[in-house]
């Protein structure tokens, strides 16, 4: 096994073009386990954790770009305005893993249990891919992640990062596992309210082959908030049965399976509970902020 150590992004992309089987590694938090267990024996790995181009974020024209190499501990410390992303980052692995692990790694592995992924799905984020010669591809998240540990990354491409249109409104990330930390989620959920677009977005992790959105539940909630006048008046009451039905509709969008960690039925139920709680928190937040 070779280790490639490019110093710049350009060099990395050239290496990738000439040696496509090289597996990029930043934190190594997923890959090293695979190597330990001999589940994968790549011919080469490419160390990208120190590429300066991947360790940045940028905001322009209402769009936020996050480099693939920014570790979770920096997101937790510095990107507090993106609350769901921070909440997801805080639950990734352990403190040590958060120092090394990156959103780029979550994208590269494309596990349905990747904690940051429901957030990106709910943000309607794009994944930015690059190959040698400056060719850049931007794929909506749903088109990027195609299945469990499957994505649309071409062998000669690298993940540069992800970008999303910043929306005004509350949101949260929450998950249920078998214990409090360092746990692979049984179910996770990100909910985002878009005040300007008057829409509700929900994405689910660990309950399907990929990250799932719940379009039916989303439009149901948005309509119900419209009907109840809640978009205009954050103190306007939203009937309890609306929140309950929202939970049921979110649960209906899940496609969970039974495994050693949990049953499909419990996972589906967990989605409903997480959805109801997330909507209640969001409504409470709007009361505090006056939906600003």
């Amino acid at each position: 096994m070779h280790v490639l150590l490019p110093r710049t992004l350009e060099e990395a992309l050239e290496m990738k073009a000439s040696a496509p089987p090289a597996v990029p590694i930043a934190g190594g938090t997923d890959l090293m386990v695979e190597l330990n267990f001999d589940r994968t024996r790549p011919q080469a790995i490419m160390e990208i954790s120190r590429l300066p181009e991947l360790n940045v974020w940028r905001r322009e024209n209402g769009t936020f770009s996050l480099g693939a190499g920014v570790p979770y501990s920096r997101i937790v410390r510095d990107l507090t305005e993106f609350r769901p992303l921070v909440e997801a980052s805080r639950t990734v692995g352990s403190p040590q893993i958060r120092n090394r692990g990156t959103v780029g790694g979550n994208l590269g592995t494309s596990s349905p249990a990747g904690d940051a992924l429901p957030v990106l799905a709910a943000y309607d984020a794009e994944v930015v891919l690059a190959k040698a010669g400056g060719k850049i591809r931007r794929l909506p998240f749903a088109q990027f992640m195609t299945g469990p540990k499957k994505n649309a990354l071409a062998p000669d491409e690298l993940i540069l990062g992800t970008r999303w249109k910043v929306v005004r409104g509350p949101g949260s990330f929450s998950k249920i596992g078998t214990r409090n930390a360092m746990v692979i989620a049984l179910a996770s959920l990100c909910l985002v309210l878009d005040e300007d677009g008057r829409s509700v977005r929900v994405a689910l992790g660990s309950v399907g082959p990929t990250i799932l959105r719940a379009p039916d539940a989303e439009s149901f909630a948005a309509r119900a908030m419209e009907t109840a006048g809640v978009w205009r008046d954050p103190f306007g009451p939203l009937p309890t049965r609306v929140i309950e039905e929202f939970g049921e509709r979110v649960a209906a969008a899940a496609k969970p399976i039974d495994d050693v960690r949990g049953t499909a039925a419990y996972r589906r139920h967990a989605c409903a509970v997480l959805a109801q709680r997330a909507l209640r928190w969001a409504l409470d937040d709007r009361k505090l902020t006056g939906a600003r």
């Binding site: 330990n36 040590q96 930390a181």
Partner: protein, 182 residues
């Protein structure tokens, strides 16, 4: 194909040729003979191998030695200076924060990161900060007390949380020094 690396461990700079697949933890244990860093699992779950890399707690079983090229590493062997224990070591000793001692080096280094980020952590913050480190002996309560004890001492004595060292000398590769996993 071996690859040259240069890194500083506990204030000493080393240069070695290493196999690309060599993990940092094996480099520390087998090439440098620093066996205070332990291996407790193969899934990056237990935290026994935690060291500080450029001041950040990392599990040295998930870092290739080649990735640590140029880095500044602190292991348990570098905590005490001039025969004087670091407050985190005193804390673990005074509060009975260890029994079998196997998780202890990783625990102490993780605790340093907690205290570096928050000199006055609550019990809950300490526990959250220790979530990447398993201990099977203590039930964690005495470890929490140990971290609090160290926090007090670090404040009173006004010493840096992470020991500061200048690179004191440089060691060139020694033929046959240790063996490397390949």
């Amino acid at each position: 194909m071996k690859r040259p690396i240069t890194l500083t461990v506990n204030g000493t700079t080393y240069q070695h040729e290493v196999e690309p697949r060599l993990l940092l933890v094996y480099y520390l244990r087998e090439v440098l003979g620093l066996t205070g860093t332990h291996i407790g699992c193969d899934t990056t779950s237990c935290g026994a191998c935690t060291v500080l890399m450029n001041g950040l707690a990392v599990k040295s079983c998930t870092v290739l030695a080649a990735q640590a090229d140029g880095a500044d590493i602190l292991t348990v062997e570098g905590l005490a200076q001039d025969g004087k224990l670091h407050p985190i070591q005193e804390g673990f000793w005074e509060e009975h924060g260890l029994q079998c001692g196997f998780c202890t080096p990783g625990m102490m280094l993780t605790a340093l990161q907690i205290l570096e980020r928050n000199p006055n952590p609550s019990e809950e913050e300490i526990r959250h900060g220790l979530d990447g480190n398993l201990c099977r002996c203590t039930g964690y309560q005495h470890i929490v007390n140990s971290v609090k004890n160290a926090a007090r001492k670090l404040k009173e004595e006004r010493i840096p949380v992470i020991p500061v060292r200048k690179a004191v000398n440089t060691r060139a590769p020694v033929a046959g020094a240790g063996k490397e996993a390949d």
